[in-house]
């Protein structure tokens, strides 16, 4: 009994430390999206470049990525090569240019290459807010019926693509 009384606080302390250490691995900027399994909120945005803009109605038929980017975003540049590679592999990526002047967004795409089928300009940031965007880059995986299935926060690297996004897109493709 005496020994138990000694062990109990130590065990409790160890449990609390354990919980804190788990907490360290948890990235607080990764907020779960409330849009998961829900349709994209309706939007229709003007074009970043001279061709057409982007609307929520464009997300149908096959699974797509909706990549939120901005010309002022440094991490987006880091991700950009990856997106260009994915485009070459035939992945459908739509772009949302968040809180950015269309002219700056267009220049960014001319200078760095354009991985998007369509890119919409959200200069006020309202569409981003409707999507629950907290920062750039963020990438939504939207299924063939226009429902959000996953939200990826931060720049996509090769590992993220191979281990997370590619298998998910394959699964969604077999659904439709």
């Amino acid at each position: 009994m005496k020994r138990l009384l000694f062990i109990l606080p130590v065990a409790l302390f160890a449990a609390v430390i354990g919980a804190f250490m788990l907490g360290l691995r948890h990235d607080p900027s990764h907020i779960t999206s409330v849009l998961i399994d829900k349709p994209l909120p309706a939007f229709a945005l003007p074009a970043v470049r001279n061709n057409q803009g982007l609307a929520s109605a464009d997300f149908k038929g096959e699974p797509m990525l909706l990549n939120v980017f901005a010309s002022w975003c440094v991490a987006c540049r880091e991700e950009h090569q990856m997106l260009l590679q994915l485009k070459q592999q035939g992945v459908v990526i739509q772009g949302l240019d968040w809180k950015d002047d269309a002219a700056d967004g267009a220049r960014y795409l001319v200078e760095n290459g354009d991985p998007y089928i369509k890119a919409g300009n959200d200069v006020s940031g309202r569409t981003g807010i409707d999507l629950g965007v907290a920062g750039v880059p963020e990438t939504f995986v939207v299924d063939g019926r226009g429902r959000v299935r996953y939200k990826f926060i931060g720049p996509i690297d090769a590992d993220d693509w191979e281990n997370t996004l590619k298998p998910l897109l394959q699964r969604l493709r077999s659904e439709t």
Binding site: I31, T32, S33, V34, G125, I129, D130, L131
Partner: protein, 151 residues
């Protein structure tokens, strides 16, 4: 001299306000409601600040949006729900009481009860140890005395 200088600097310093004059509503009642609501909402960029405190650009956008909603006639609940529907319950600094947050709300009570039980056990044992049992002689005498009393 140095102390006086320090005091002068301290008096000259004013708290920094994130809410810009240009954001504020003309109607003081509405503005007061907006301030109260935005003090209950977490900024998703600087997560330990409210959107009322935060200088993040997104916090500014959300403050403006919140004021637009109030101006359009939203109740406080509707305006809060508008943002919670987009960014999730995570932005509510006072999380709702539901199955997922049960431990969060009841955790302190749980700890209090567990501690209370511990203290009760400890005190009970100490009292038991402090009062040693009667010997057979003492018990017999006590019984006799009690009986006399009852008679």
């Amino acid at each position: 001299m140095r102390a006086r200088l320090l005091l002068a600097f301290l008096l000259a310093a004013t708290p920094a306000f994130a809410v810009l004059p240009s954001e504020q509503l003309a109607d003081p009642k509405l503005e007061a409601r907006a301030r109260a609501i935005s003090q209950e909402l977490r900024c998703v960029v600087c997560q330990n600040q409210t959107i009322d405190d935060s200088d993040a650009e997104l916090a500014h956008d959300l403050r403006v949006l919140l004021r637009q909603r109030l101006k359009a006639g939203d109740t406080d609940q509707q305006a809060i729900a508008f943002l919670a529907n987009r960014y999730g319950d995570y932005v509510l600094l006072k999380p709702p009481f539901e199955a997922e947050t049960l431990l969060l709300w009841l955790g302190p009570l749980l700890v209090l009860v567990a501690g209370g039980i511990g203290v009760a056990l400890y005190l009970g044992r100490r009292r038991a140890a402090a009062a040693p049992a009667f010997t057979a002689d003492e018990q017999a005498r006590l019984d006799r005395l009690l009986k006399e009393d009852a008679a």
